[in-house]
């Protein structure tokens, strides 16, 4: 491909350039009203702080910058040369002004600068080669923002991250080796057609169809990052990729179906060729492949981040019958609403009534400027500046309803995990009824549709687990009754722990499984158990917590309850004076949970629990015998004990959990 009129444009450009260089600096031309290039916020920042960071977008002599992937190597080199030339020219204009070059780019017509007021004036006067000046704003990666925005992280903490569900990505193929997607792609297929004079298959085997490992790999053209990005948003997991964020259903698996073909003519591409487009017939084949695997894979959703055309009413396109089939077996087809910016129309196949059509919102919950919207659209989801995986192993930011749809596809996996028998109607209803209403306030817009809130939809779909404890006060060593209900996916490993309120999940003080012992028994969505409070537990406020399946995934927390000291346990000694080698009588009562290991020790007052001087069990000897909540024993004072004040202490079950302390008594010679 040749860029038209290149030589003529160059001549004109450089002639004008010489003329402009000869002009006095910082003299705005008539067309350049002050402020037309540099935004007010940058001006204000430069005035207040002395400088501001900006991105300067440059005008190229050969026409607007075009993606390099559309060029031959020579054409890409020519564009890079243009970029370097204009960068040099702009920087030479700025010489002598307060500015600092932050970044110079090779393949895009941009410069990152820090500029002072005089440099702003110079840029204002340089509109011939400066297209615009944009604040270099700090943008946090948005997947980490969009996932919490829709409440997916809250669903994770409740134990639902899409584990066990599969999301099918009908797109440009997925780089399954990407660390964000490692181990996730469990099914692959390719449907891509060669049509003489129009398109060439992109299936790795060169045929119009390929099934199995490797067939769903990302296609090899510049647009083929798309499927990997979409897959990451739906189900990427940051744990293996060294990033702190994940996709919506980070526990879900993926099926990659590559349905795009390489189109080779400019007329087919509507512009520069080659490009990738997908035949409806191939999309239907891809969806049918998902349908054919419904018995072997637990598909939650199939995502179509693609489309074309516009329809102001629900449409009856050929994809409808297979979307209906999928819906009839509980698989949702999530479809991008399209990027035409329409306020009353959707692209096809999003316009199909049985599809789950998804428009895009910003992180501020406004309708994205590019999003198609209609009053018959199903849902909104974040779709602006979404960071996700891209081919080559890295991450990239992209915007589009393509990015919104996989948020919903991932949400479906989470909800399907929680409500495995939920129909598409039920899950859609939960998402719509709990979603945040977003009204399209763009010119001509009026539709109000719900932006998904996954955690709320989860609550609507599944009973919330509840754990109660009675009574509200108990003596240490006593028992409370723990009663639970609403465990959505009960397992024998579900367990109840005793905790100090506010303490970490791993700091349990005692625990039992829902079998009412520490041995696993039957799973039980609801039930009750007697829970023994450790006899040595310090008085205070405590709570019980219900956890899922031998993990620290908390399902529910009880109200707090009070543990009192072992008020019932008392210990007295008589007489209050005895000669060393003599005997006193130790009398106890009120041991709440007596055991044969309960014991009495002789101590110096104030000494530590382990610093006993003599001891016996409640059997009145050092041998264990019957447990006894109350009783008395003769206690022999060692003959060599130094004269002084001493005390006896009652301890629980061969531990240093003190139940009671006696009155002091004197030991004489």
């Amino acid at each position: 491909m040749r860029r038209p009129g290149r030589s003529a444009v160059y001549l004109a450009f450089f002639a004008l350039l010489l003329l402009l260089l000869a002009l006095p600096r910082a003299t705005p031309r008539a067309a350049d009203s002050p402020g037309s290039l540099v935004p007010l916020e940058v001006r204000n920042q430069a005035l207040q702080e002395g400088s501001g960071r900006v991105i300067v977008e440059l005008r190229l002599p050969g026409g607007p910058h075009a993606p390099e992937g559309l060029f031959s190597a020579a054409q890409a080199g020519a564009q890079q040369s243009d970029i370097a030339t204009v960068q040099r020219l702009v920087l030479s204009r700025l010489a002598g002004t307060s500015h600092r070059l932050l970044r110079q780019y090779r393949t895009v017509a941009l410069l990152a600068l820090e500029i002072g007021p005089d440099a702003i004036a110079e840029l204002e006067a340089s509109s011939f080669w400066v297209k615009r000046v944009i604040p270099d704003v700090v943008k946090a990666p948005t997947l980490p923002q969009s996932v919490p925005l829709i409440g997916a992280d809250q669903a994770w903490t409740r134990g639902f991250d899409g584990t066990g569900a599969v999301v099918a990505i009908i797109d440009t193929g997925v780089q399954s080796s990407h660390p964000f997607l490692a181990g996730k792609v469990v099914e692959e297929a390719c449907f891509s057609s060669t049509v003489t004079g129009h398109s060439v298959t992109l299936c790795p085997n060169g045929q119009d169809q390929q099934i199995g490992t490797g067939s769903g790999v990302n296609c090899p053209l510049s647009d083929c990052w798309h499927g990997t990005h979409v897959a990451g948003t739906a189900a990427g997991n940051g744990a293996g990729a060294g990033v702190s964020f994940s996709g919506v259903a980070k526990g879900a698996q993926l099926m990659s179906v590559q349905v795009f073909s390489k189109f080779t003519t400019a007329s087919d591409c509507g512009g520069t060729a080659p490009c990738v487009l997908a035949y409806t017939s191939d999309i239907i084949a891809g969806l049918e492949q998902v349908y054919s695997l419904r018995a072997t894979r637990n598909f939650a959703s199939a995502n179509l981040s693609l489309g074309g055309g516009l329809s102001t009413t629900p449409c009856d396109e050929p994809e409808k019958s297979i979307i209906d089939n999928l819906r009839s077996v509980g698989i949702a087809t999530t479809v991008a609403a399209g990027n035409g910016g329409a306020t009353n129309a959707l692209s096809s196949p999003a316009c199909i009534s049985s599809a789950i059509s998804v428009g895009a919102t910003t992180k501020s919950d406004l309708v994205a400027s590019f999003s198609n919207v209609a009053d018959f659209m199903s849902l909104f989801a974040p779709g602006e500046s979404i960071t996700s995986s891209t081919v080559g192993g890295g991450f990239a930011v992209a915007s589009g309803t393509s990015m919104a749809a996989p948020h919903v596809a991932g949400a479906w996996a989470i909800l399907k995990q929680a409500a495995s028998t939920g129909t598409v109607d039920q899950i859609l209803s939960a998402l719509q009824s709990t979603g945040l209403p977003i009204t399209d306030t763009r010119p001509g817009g009026s539709a109000t549709r719900p932006r998904i809130r996954v955690a709320d939809a989860l609550s609507a779909l599944t009973p919330t687990p509840v754990l109660t404890v009675t009574p509200e006060s108990v003596v240490a060593g006593g028992t409370v009754t723990a009663t639970w209900s609403g465990i959505p996916a009960p397992t024998p490993g579900d367990w109840i722990g005793l905790y100090v309120p506010g303490s970490g999940n791993t700091t349990y003080l005692a625990w039992i499984r829902v079998s009412c012992s520490q041995s696993p028994g039957a799973a039980s969505a609801a039930g009750s158990c007697s829970f023994t409070i450790p006899s040595g537990l310090a008085p205070g406020s405590y709570e019980l917590r219900l956890y899922a399946n031998d993990t620290y995934t908390r399902l529910a927390t009880s109200a707090t309850f009070t543990v009192t000291g072992s008020a019932g346990a008392t210990l007295s000694v008589s007489p209050t004076s005895v000669a060393a080698g003599g005997t006193v009588t130790a009398t106890w009562s009120g041991i709440p949970a007596p055991t044969p290991g309960d014991w009495i020790g002789l101590y110096a007052p104030g000494s530590g629990n382990t610093a006993y001087l003599a001891w016996i069990r409640v059997s009145c000897s050092q041998s264990p015998a019957a447990a006894s909540a109350a009783g008395s024993c003769p206690f022999t004072i060692p003959s060599g004990l130094a004269p002084g004040s001493y005390e006896l202490r009652l301890y629980a079950n061969d531990t240093y959990t003190r139940l009671a302390t006696s009155n002091p008594f004197d030991v004489t010679r």
Partner: protein, 127 residues
Amino acid sequence: MNCVPRCVRSALLIGQIVCLTVPTTTISETAPLIAPEVRQLVGVSSARVIVELRLDQSGDPNQRPEAIARAQDALLSRLPYSHISVARRYTSVPLLALEIDGTALAALEAMPDLVVSVKPDRRSKTQ
């Protein structure tokens, strides 16, 4: 009042005639819907289209894949062989993706018993 037995007999006779002339099939055979875009395309050269086939919806759902295959075979057997090529067959939906020319379109249009619609095999782009 004398008219009553004769009127009843006449009504029964008319009803019998009507019943005998109504086709016994339960499928309504309206003319196939041909998308205008398809007519345009085949007027110039061949075109990829998606043909929706007419199925008896009252059939056993478990036998649907077989019914779809039979309908596909019936359609293909009645199309002029040299004017079509099959792009894709489907097993779970009553569709066929074909490449056709004007002659094949005319043949499709003449099969209201088998064809519901002929629509262009559109191309989607990433969004």
